[in-house]
Every structure is written in C-alpha cells, then in structure tokens.
C-alpha cells in the first residue's frame, strides 16, 4: 500500500511545491477516480487495471479544470481564501457524489487479478501486489518526467523560484495548470488501482487524504522522492501495526509516528524548509 499512498501524496506534494497551496479536495479527487474506474468496469467492461490510464486522463482533466475554474482566481488572494476554496471544492465534490451516486458501497466484482500469491511464506492479495507495482511504475514515470525532460525541468524550476522561472521564458501559469493536471493524473491512477480491492463510496477520500497529508508532511512538502520514501514508511508501519495490535488501531500508530516526526523535524524527514 505504501506505493499507492506515495502516488496519492505525490500529486498533493507536487501542487504544494509549485504554488504553496494545499489541495484539500485531494481525497475527493481520489474518490472520483475510484468511481471513474468503477463505471469504466460496470458500464464499459474495462477492468480497473486497464482503467488506470482512463482514471489518469479523467483526473488530469479535472485537475486542469480546477486550476482554470477555481485556483487561478484565488492565487493572489489571502491564504484563508485559498484554504476555503479547495476545502469548499471538497465539500461540493463529496456531496455531489452523494447526490448523483448515492451512499451505497460499491465494489468491482471479479477483477482480472484476484486471489493471493505467496511471497516468501507471506500471502498477499494479487490485486494489492499489482497495485503496488503499478503505483511504483507511475511514480517512477513521474520522477523521470520531472528530472529528465525539458518541461519537467521547467516545472521544477517554477516550483523553486516562480519569478526567476518567468524570466527564463517559462509561462508559469501554464506550468501551474500542468502541475494540477499531473497531480490529478497521479491520483487518477491511484484511484483506479485502489478500486480493485477497496469499497467505493462518496466518503472514501477521507481516509486516504489524511494518510496522504501525513505522507507529504513526513516526506517534506514539495519533495517528490521524499514522498515515495515516506509513502513506503507509512505503508509498512500500517501493515506491521495491523499485525501486532488489533487492526482497528493500526492508523493510530501511523498518526503517532507522524506526531513524533513533526515534533522532532517539522520540515519532514527529507524536507528542505
């Protein structure tokens, strides 16, 4: 699960690094990605594994639209306006989902990948394993894009110094929109992968979003490789805690770890600020 958390968190971290803005609707983006995967499966017969690109495209479009429709207008506004804008979007999306899709829990029945495999004596669900592998692949693609391509470099430069970047001839507003699209794509892939084995309902974003904020804060805001490491830490801690203490309490261990780290290193384990 660590890689999936990392992928969800990467989108959040990217957007924050780019414009110092926390997207409080990130969990709802994930929820919508899960519904996209679900309806891709139930209406179009597309298995969630193949639905991942579909989720990526749909959520990239949503991210892009969010930037142009909402974020662009509040960038120069006070910080509270920015918080309320994304928080308001979250409330809107969640209630929209209640209204349109109802509160029923839905699941994808009989995905292609099902059953369990044994990894050195530990049984792991095949959907979970493949989700991890796919999430890691998506994360790697993101990392290579950011560090190896011209556009990725321009995006990184914009994150590090917006004014200097615009003086290089980089259209920073286009980079912001691109950042939202990529952040959306990350969560789109993650949502489709999670849809293979998780219940799909309007409030599902909450748990994941909370874990994503913890992951981003652990990894250091705006630090994409740090986010991967932090995602793995969160995933491992969650899994081990689930083994050692009653599973209902496993998230408390994660959040305790988060509190400890934030007290000891407020900038996160790999943070620069």
């Amino acid at each position: 699960m660590g890689f999936v958390y990392a992928l969800v968190a990467a989108g959040l971290s990217l957007i924050f690094g780019l414009m110092e803005l926390v997207n409080f609707a990130h969990g709802e983006f994930l929820m919508i990605a899960m519904y996209v995967a679900f309806f891709g499966w139930s209406l179009g017969g597309i298995d969630p594994v193949l639905g991942a690109p579909l989720g990526a495209v749909a959520l990239a479009a949503l991210g892009w639209a969010t930037y142009h429709g909402v974020i662009r207008h509040i960038l120069s506004g006070p910080m509270l306006a920015q918080i309320f804008a994304t928080f308001g979007l979250a409330v809107f999306l969640r209630n929209m989902a209640h209204f349109v899709w109802g509160v029923d829990f839905r699941t994808v029945q009989d995905p292609w990948l099902s059953g369990r495999v044994s990894l050195g004596g530990v049984f792991v669900g095949l959907p979970q394993i493949s989700a991890s592998v796919a999430a890691f692949g998506a994360f790697l693609a993101l990392y290579l894009f950011l560090s190896r391509t011209e556009t990725g470099l321009a995006l990184t430069a914009t994150a590090q110094d917006r004014q200097a970047a615009s003086l290089m001839g980089i259209d920073t507003e286009r980079m912001f929109a691109l950042g939202w699209a990529i952040g959306g794509a990350c969560v789109g892939v993650a949502g489709a992968l999670v849809a293979m084995f998780f219940y799909i309902y309007p409030d599902v974003g909450g748990t994941f979003a909370l874990l994503a904020y913890v992951t981003v804060a652990l990894g250091g805001f705006g630090n994409v490789p740090g986010t991967l490491a932090a995602g793995v830490v969160v995933g491992l801690v969650e899994a081990l805690a689930g083994l050692l203490i009653p599973p209902a309490f496993k998230y408390s261990v994660v959040f305790l770890l988060y509190l400890a780290v934030v007290l000891w290193r407020p900038q996160g384990l790999f943070g620069r600020f």
Partner: protein
C-alpha cells in the same frame, strides 16, 4: 551614439496600493552600458522589474527595439531580447549549474541556437563546465553571480539587465565580473545595471540615471554625473 534600444518613460508603478515610481524614465542606446543609481528604496529594482514584465505599470510606456512591451508578461518579454538577472542571483537552488544555465535558453527564440550560445558563454564563464553537476545552492556568492549572468546570457539578449551584480562580493570577484561585463558589451550586448556605489558604477558605465523617491532626478554621461553637485545631494542628503 546609435539609436536607443530601450526607452522607458513616464512610468507609474504601484506595489500593492503604495506608489513606488512616479513618472520615472530610463533609456539605453544600442551597445551601451548604463548604470541605474539611487539610494535604497528609490525604486531602482521596481523600475527594472517593470521593464522585464514582472510588474505591470499603471501608466507610462516601455519601448524595446521599436516595439511597445509594457504590459506583456515576463516570459514573453524575454523572447523580445531583454534578459533580466535578478537581485541576489536567484538561481534555482536545487537544480545543477548545468540545468540552471540551460533553462536560460528555455524561450523558443533562444532554444534554436542553444548549443552554440552555450559554447560562447562557457568561454566567458569556464566554471559552468567545471561545476556543471553541482547544485546551485552549494556555490559561493561570486560563483552564483557568474552562473546567474551566464544563465541570463543564454537567452541571447540584446539588452542584459543586472540588478546589483556586485552585492556582497569580494573586491577580487567584483573586478572579475566587471571584466566579464566589458567583454559581453564588446560583443554588442547593451547592459543596464543597478549599483549603490556611484563611483564604481560610473567607472564602468557610459551613462547613468539617478532615481530618488521614484523619480528620475539626474541623467547624463558618467563623467558629468560624478562631478555634478546634485549627486552629493541625493546620496548625502545635503
């Protein structure tokens, strides 16, 4: 003197709701070196930021190479041939020297000739090759300034604007940068720079403009400004 490459006049600029520039003007001839002088808070950086498009003027005109550029956004103005090196270098701290320098040629007008320009700039600043893979924030102040100017040159500007090129640098490094500015200028690039030290600035520049409280109060040939009684009034308040 050949024609003007840059002419900014009547600039009114507000930061938030505080007016910083009041009808300020500055101009630069083709191939000329011009110093922008004035005490702290006079509006020198604001004027430069307005020319490069980081700020929008409330009123006034900026003409570059015969084209009005006032109100264009910064990434468009670079394409026209104005390159701006910000105060305190402002390199991308967590990118390498090489990545910083290459980003200087990001705009489409400069990208075509990037490799050729990189060769020329490397001749001026050998350190961008020897330190290519070092992260920018680990360089010394002088080295960062060299990389910042190199990055600015990668845009193949006709006018290079440098905000306080000597700020916080050792005298030996200052001499080095002065030498580089002369060589850049010898290649036909006009330079507009900001400097607090009047004598040093006018030792380098052909002409100077003096700003005070957001207005251009003095302009002329470098030698005349150094001798003028007004310059003492501006800087010494008496």
């Amino acid at each position: 003197m050949a024609g003007l490459i840059l002419e900014a006049r009547g600039l009114d600029v507000l930061l938030e709701d505080y007016q910083v520039l009041w009808g300020a003007h500055v101009d630069v001839g083709e191939g000329e070196i011009v110093a922008l002088l004035g005490p702290n808070g006079a509006g020198k950086s604001t004027l430069m930021n307005t020319i490069s498009g980081l700020l929008r003027p409330r009123g006034g005109e900026v003409v570059f190479a015969g084209r009005s550029i006032a109100g264009l956004r910064a990434h468009r103005i670079v394409r026209e041939g104005v390159s701006h090196v910000l105060e305190r270098r402002r390199l991308f701290p967590y990118l390498t020297v090489r990545q910083n320098v290459l980003l200087g040629a990001y705009n489409p007008a400069a990208r075509a000739g990037r490799d050729e320009q990189l060769r020329r700039v490397t001749e001026l600043f050998p350190l961008i090759e020897s330190r290519a893979n070092q992260l920018a924030h680990t360089l010394s102040g002088g080295e960062q300034q060299m990389v910042a100017i190199a990055r600015g040159l990668m845009a193949r500007p006709r006018l290079l604007m440098i905000d306080e090129p000597f700020l916080g640098l050792a005298p030996r490094i200052v001499d080095q940068i002065v030498g580089v500015m002369a060589r850049i200028n010898a290649d036909g690039v006009a330079i507009l720079f900001i400097e607090q030290n009047v004598e040093r600035a006018l030792g380098i520049a052909h002409r100077g403009f003096v700003l005070e409280s957001g207005r251009t109060v003095l302009e002329g040939r470098a030698a005349d400004i150094v001798r003028s009684p007004e310059i003492r009034k501006v800087f010494l308040g008496g």
